[in-house]
């Protein structure tokens, strides 16, 4: 199996990354502050004013290592993409599935079922841990609703119905999301999901982590030779990585939401790790981002048992495995796409 290589995150403003033989060197104000042999790096995410030398970019493109640029606040800006390679027959199968109404619908339905099930697992766990009776009741109600949504997804007969189920389940999930915050409640108030820009701390945190997961999902699609822009649940739109977003849906609760909640509930983050910006948006501060990145990277290294392949794998490889399972289904080697639903 593909080893989970480390991801290098660079957020030191004004730093310069260059290639020296097989080693990546990081300089800040012309002083060498770090060097890592390329063999240890699977990808790199850089934030804001970070310069990357052309030859380092060439090398990343040649090797198919992922390189993603984010704004300093962590909004996805662009990524490096090497030559189009991979299996053209696989991509053809990917496009063909769209024109067969049932194929796209079945994939989308399983993705939504996976997402709802994983959301429910998060809610159930929070309900067990809730100290406040009102919270517990609300969370248990949401859990019941999500169970019903799961059945509704099974009964759905069209893509639109599936999208409707997903929308309603998502709304209920985010209605109770604030109740899963147990610590620092006055700093981490959550009244529904908002973005572009996020207007409170929890939303800022969610948006930041989602951007990271999204980058990993794009890389996962490309890694197995799928076109990240051509999805099933998400409508096609120019510039949108619909397939990566599809892949991300079932992984959000497991990889991102749980991370956000534990960062708050274990008090690894406090209100001071955020700063208000003009226009009412809220951003993570630089030390805050560092805490989140470290937690995200160690979460990716955590082993989990994959229910479909029955093996223990690091969580960070799950997007790649799911992309591979989807590719198998599209090629006709498996009857259905099975989402990742850990216990």
């Amino acid at each position: 199996m593909k080893p989970l290589l480390n991801t290098l995150y660079v957020q030191a403003q004004g730093s310069y990354l260059r290639l020296d033989h097989e080693t990546l060197k990081l300089e800040v104000e012309r002083k060498l502050v770090g060097q890592v042999p390329l063999q240890h790096i699977g990808g790199m995410v850089v934030f804001g004013n970070v310069m990357v030398s052309p030859f380092l970019m060439h090398r990343f493109g040649d090797d198919g290592r992922s390189l993603v640029w984010m704004s300093q606040a962590g909004r996805f800006k662009c990524r490096l993409s090497g030559p189009v390679t991979g299996n053209v027959l696989l991509r053809k199968a990917q496009y063909t599935a769209q024109s067969e109404p049932t194929a796209a619908f079945h994939i989308a339905r399983n993705i939504v079922a996976g997402k709802v099930k994983n959301s429910r697992t998060v809610v159930q766990r929070a309900a067990r841990e809730a100290e406040d009776a009102a919270d517990r009741v609300a969370l248990e109600e949401a859990s019941t609703f999500l169970a019903a949504s799961l059945r509704a997804a099974g009964r759905a007969r069209s893509l639109d119905e599936v999208r409707g189920v997903e929308g309603r389940a998502g709304r209920v999930y985010f209605e109770v999301f604030g109740r899963m915050v147990r610590m620092n409640r006055d700093a981490f108030v959550f009244n529904g999901r908002n973005r572009r820009p996020p207007r409170d701390r929890v939303n800022a945190l969610l948006s930041f982590v989602y951007a990271l997961v999204r980058g990993d999902c794009v890389a996962a699609c490309e890694g197995v030779g799928l076109d990240p822009q051509f999805g099933y649940l998400h409508a096609l739109r120019s510039g949108r990585p619909s397939l990566a977003l599809d892949l991300m849906e079932e992984l959000r609760p497991v990889i991102a939401d749980r991370l956000v909640l534990s960062l708050i509930n274990r008090q690894q983050l406090s209100g001071r790790d955020f700063e208000p910006r003009p226009g009412g948006s809220v951003n993570l501060t630089e030390p805050g981002r560092k805490t989140v990145l470290a937690a995200y990277q160690s979460r990716k290294q955590k082993e989990t048992t994959h229910p479909v392949i029955g093996q223990s794998v690091p969580l960070g490889l799950v997007p790649h495995l799911q992309a591979r399972l989807l590719a198998r289904h599209l090629r006709g080697d498996s009857a259905a796409y099975l989402p990742f639903t850990p216990k």
Binding site: N6, T7, L8, Y9, V10, Q11, A12, S15, D20, H21, E22, T23, L26, V33, G34, Q35, V36, P37, L38, Q39, H40, I41, K290, L293, A294, Y296, Q297, S298, Q301
Partner: protein, 96 residues
């Protein structure tokens, strides 16, 4: 696998000093310097062969010496360090 690479390069001549620099550059591609002529590397078997090949090609067998120690298993179980230690684990989150 984890390996420890140490070397002595005869630097009496200009060519020797050049070899010293080249050997260090090769070692940096595979691992990190923990003391002046001591490198710790974590490499896959294929990369290990590549490293060995490049190092033995660069050194002068009549004047220089190269030693490679293989660590059985995880490095933490086999290395004790005292004093200054600038070792960076490339498996921990890498954030600069």
């Amino acid at each position: 696998m984890y390996i420890l690479v140490t070397y002595d390069v005869n630097t009496e001549t200009k060519a020797g000093r050049r070899r010293l620099r080249q050997v260090a550059v090769i070692c940096k591609d595979f691992g990190q310097r923990v003391q002046f002529s001591v490198f710790e590397c974590q490499v896959e078997p294929a990369r290990y062969e590549e490293m060995k090949h490049r190092l033995t090609k660069t050194m002068n067998p009549d004047e220089d010496s190269l030693r490679i120690y293989r660590l059985p298993g995880q490095r933490e179980q086999h290395i004790e360090t005292y004093g200054v230690d600038r070792y960076v684990s490339f498996e921990e989150p890498l954030i600069f």
